[in-house]
C-alpha cells in the first residue's frame, strides 16, 4: 500500500470528510457551552452585585450618607475576602467612602478591564471588572463592583477542555480513518491482485470472499459468478475451435489430395470437369458446416430473442411433416401425426421450423426401413410438448446427452451424410426458447421430447 494511493482512496476521503464534519459539530458544541457558562455566570455575578448595591442604597435612603460611610467601612473591614469594592463619590469627584473612584456618573453597568499590578508577571493578566453605578441623590453616586475572575477562569476552563477534546478527536479520527481505509484498501488490493492474476491468464483463479459478507464480498461473489460464466463460454469456444480444426481438416485435406492428384495426372477435359465439380461439392459441404456452426453461435448469443413473435406451432409441425412425408415414403417409412390444433407460442418461426425439421429429418435418416415415426404435439396450461418417436434401433442411453454435442456422430450413423450439427442446432434453438430436450428409450426406438414453456 503506497501513500499517494492511500490518500486518494475513497475510504480515506470519506473518513476525512466525516472527521471534518465531526470537528465542526464539536466546535459548535464548544462555542455553545462557552457562551452559556459565560452568560449564566455573568448573570449570577450581576445579581449579587445588584443586591449589594440595592442594600446600600436602602441604607442610604434610611439613614443618610454618614451611616452609609460607616457601613461600607465596616463591611470592607469585616469581609475583606468578599472582594466587593465600593465607591461613593460626590459631584466634584471627591471620594466619600470606599475605594472605587474612577467611574462615570451615569446609572447602569460599567465594564472595565483591569490589569492587576502584581509582582508576579504571569498573574498580571487583565480581567474584567463589573461595576454597578446607582445615583443615591442628585449629587452622590454609589458604585459597587466585583471582578469577573471566576467568569474568566470558567471560560478558560471550557476552552481548555474543548481544545483538548478537539486534539483528541483529530487524533482518534485520523487513526480510525487510517484503520478503516487500510482495511478497505487491503481488501481492494487483494481483489486487484486476483484480477491481475486472472488477466495474466489464470482463468481458474477467483476473487477472495471473506466471511463478513459485506458489500465488497457480495460484489466479489458476483464477479466470481461472472468469471464462471466467462470461463465456461471460453471453454465452449475452445471446444468449438478444436472441433472445427478437427472436423474441417479432414474434408479439406481430402480435397487437397484430390486436387493435387488431378494436377499431377494428365486428364481429359471431361475428367477435369468431373474433378472440379467434385471439388466444388466438397467445398459446399465445408461451407454448409461452417454456416451451421455460425448459425449455432448466433442462436446461442440470444440476439434472436428480441425478434420473438406469436407463432402457430401446430402449423409449423404440420408444414414440416408435410415437406418430409414424401421423403419418408420414399425410404419406406411412415409418419403418424397426433397434433393438437392451433397451439401458439412466442418464438422464432424460422428457427422453430428448423428445430422440428431436424428432429423429424433425423428420425427418417437414422432408422431402418418400415419404421413408424410418430409426431405428437400437445399443450397444457404451462407447457407445450412436442414428441418425435420412432420404433427404430434407438440410441444407447450412454450416448443420450452426447448426441447434442457439436460434431458428435454415433458410430451407427457415420455412413449417412451429415455433419453432426443437426441436433446441436436443435439444442441451441430449444435453449433459446427456454425449452428442455429429453431423450427416452421408446422400447424399441428413440423418443425425443421437447418441452417449451407457454409463457
Amino acid at each position: 500500500m503506497n501513500l499517494p494511493n492511500f490518500f486518494s482512496a475513497i475510504s480515506f476521503k470519506l473518513s476525512a470528510l466525516y472527521l471534518i464534519l465531526f470537528l465542526c459539530s464539536f466546535l459548535s458544541i464548544g462555542i455553545t457551552v462557552y457562551w452559556l457558562t459565560q452568560r449564566s455566570l455573568e448573570a449570577q455575578l450581576k445579581d449579587t452585585i445588584e443586591a449589594e448595591a440595592n442594600r446600600l442604597k436602602t441604607e442610604f435612603d434610611a439613614d443618610g450618607i454618614a451611616e452609609l460611610q460607616n457601613e461600607i467601612e465596616e463591611v470592607t473591614e469585616r469581609n475583606s475576602h468578599t472582594l466587593f469594592e465600593y465607591g461613593v463619590i460626590d459631584q466634584n469627584g471627591h471620594l466619600l467612602a470606599g475605594t472605587l473612584n474612577n467611574f462615570q456618573f451615569s446609572e447602569g453597568w460599567q465594564l472595565v478591564m483591569r490589569t492587576p499590578d502584581s509582582k508576579q508577571p504571569e498573574k498580571n493578566k487583565p480581567h474584567p471588572f463589573y461595576n454597578r453605578v446607582i445615583a443615591l441623590s442628585n449629587h452622590i453616586w454609589l458604585g459597587v463592583g466585583h471582578d469577573g475572575k471566576l467568569l474568566q477562569a470558567a471560560g478558560e476552563a471550557v476552552i481548555k477542555a474543548f481544545t483538548g477534546g478537539f486534539v483528541l478527536v483529530i487524533f482518534l479520527g485520523a487513526c480510525g480513518g487510517f484503520y478503516i481505509s487500510s482495511a478497505f484498501l487491503r481488501k481492494i488490493e487483494s481483489i486487484t491482485k486476483s484480477t491481475q492474476t486472472i488477466i495474466a491468464g489464470d482463468l481458474s483463479h477467483r476473487l477472495p470472499v471473506s466471511k463478513n459478507r459485506d458489500e465488497l464480498d457480495n460484489l466479489a461473489l458476483l464477479l466470481n459468478l461472472m468469471l464462471d460464466k466467462i470461463s465456461s463460454l471460453i471453454e465452449n469456444i475452445q471446444q468449438v475451435s478444436n472441433d472445427i480444426a478437427h472436423d474441417l481438416r479432414t474434408p479439406i485435406s481430402h480435397l487437397k489430395f484430390r486436387l493435387e492428384n488431378a494436377l499431377t495426372k494428365s486428364l481429359s477435359a471431361e475428367q477435369y470437369t468431373e474433378r472440379v465439380a467434385f471439388a466444388i461439392e466438397e467445398i459446399d459441404t465445408i461451407l454448409t458446416t461452417f454456416s451451421a456452426m455460425l448459425r449455432i453461435s448466433q442462436i446461442e448469443s440470444g440476439s434472436r430473442r428480441s425478434g420473438f413473435k406469436t407463432v402457430n406451432f401446430s402449423d409449423i409441425v404440420i408444414a414440416v411433416s408435410d415437406a418430409l412425408n414424401p421423403v419418408a415414403e420414399e425410404q419406406e417409412k411412415t409418419i403418424h401425426l397426433a397434433i393438437e390444433k392451433s397451439i401458439v407460442l412466442k418464438g422464432d418461426k424460422e428457427l422453430l421450423t428448423q428445430l422440428v425439421f431436424n428432429l423429424l429429418d433425423n428420425a427418417i435418416l437414422h432408422t431402418p426401413k418400415n419404421t413408424r415415426i410418430k409426431i405428437s404435439l400437445q399443450s397444457s396450461n404451462t407447457h407445450t410438448e412436442l414428441m418425435v418417436a420412432d420404433n427404430g434401433s434407438g440410441i444407447d442411453e450412454a450416448y443420450h446427452q452426447k448426441v447434442f454435442q457439436r460434431f458428435y456422430r454415433l458410430e451407427q450413423s457415420r455412413s449417412t451424410p451429415g455433419n453432426g450439427l443437426g441436433l446441436s442446432i436443435v439444442a441451441a434453438i430449444a435453449e433459446l426458447h427456454d425449452g428442455t430436450l429429453t431423450l427416452l428409450d421408446n422400447k424399441p426406438g428413440l423418443k425425443i421430447i421437447l418441452r417449451l414453456p407457454n409463457q
Binding site: L287, N358, D361
Partner: protein, 260 residues
Amino acid sequence: MFLKFLWMMKLTKTLKTKKSNFNAGELPPRCSLNAMKILIIEDDKETRDYVSTGLKEAAHSVDLAKDGYEGLILAKEGTYDLLIVDRMLPGLDGLSLLKTLRMANCNTPALFLTTMCGIDDRVEGLNAGADDYLVKPFAFSELSARVNALLRRPRETVGQKILQTAELEINLLKRVVKRNGQIIDIQPTEFRLLEYLVRHAGQVVTRTMLLENVWDFHFDPKTNIVETHISRLRSKLNTGNKSDLIHTVRGSGYIIHEST
C-alpha cells in the same frame, strides 16, 4: 463535412462522364429483353469481378460501385433494371442505402447480398426494401437465377385467375391443374411448387429459391426435399406417358418449358 461534400461533388462529376460515355456506347439501355442494366454495389473486388463477368457474359450491361455513397448516387439516376447491393459497404451500408432509395421513391428491384453469419440480415434486408436476398458465398448459377427472376418478374398478377404455360393450365381460384385439358390430381404443396415454377416458366429456378418460396424454409436442410417433391410432381404430370415438362438443369435447379 466539407471534405465529404467535395468528395460527393467529385463523384457526381465522374458519374456525369460515365453517363455520357454510356450514351455514346453501342449498348443503349433496354435494347432487348435479355440485355438489362445492372448496378453492382460491392466493395470486395473479387466478388464484384466474379458477378460482373458472369452477368456481362449473360449479355447484361453492368455498372460498378465500390462503396455506399457512390452506389447511392448511381442508383438514384434510376435508369437501372436491377441493383445488386452488398450488406457491408464502406461509407453507407447496404441497409441504409436501400432505405434511402426506397424513401426517395426509387423502386428499382434490388438483390441483397448478405454474409452467412448474419442470419437476421435477411429480414432486415427485406424490411429495408430489398426484393430478394442471397447469402455469400453463392454459386453464380444461384445469383443468375435470382437475377433473372427479378428482371422478368411477372407484373402484378392480382386478379389473374389462370396461369398457362406449355400444355399446362393452372386455375388459381379453383386450385385445379390441367394438362392438355386433362385434370391432374395434386397435393397442396405440389400445387404451390408447380405454381411457382409456372410463374417463372422459361427461367431456371434453384433449389433454395423453391425452399424459400414454396416451403418458407430459410435454412439448408440436409435432406433434399425439393428433389423428392419435384420427382413426385413430375410423375403426376407425366401420367399417360407424356414427356417431361419440368427439366433439371444440372448444378442449378429446375426449369419448366415446353418439351421439345
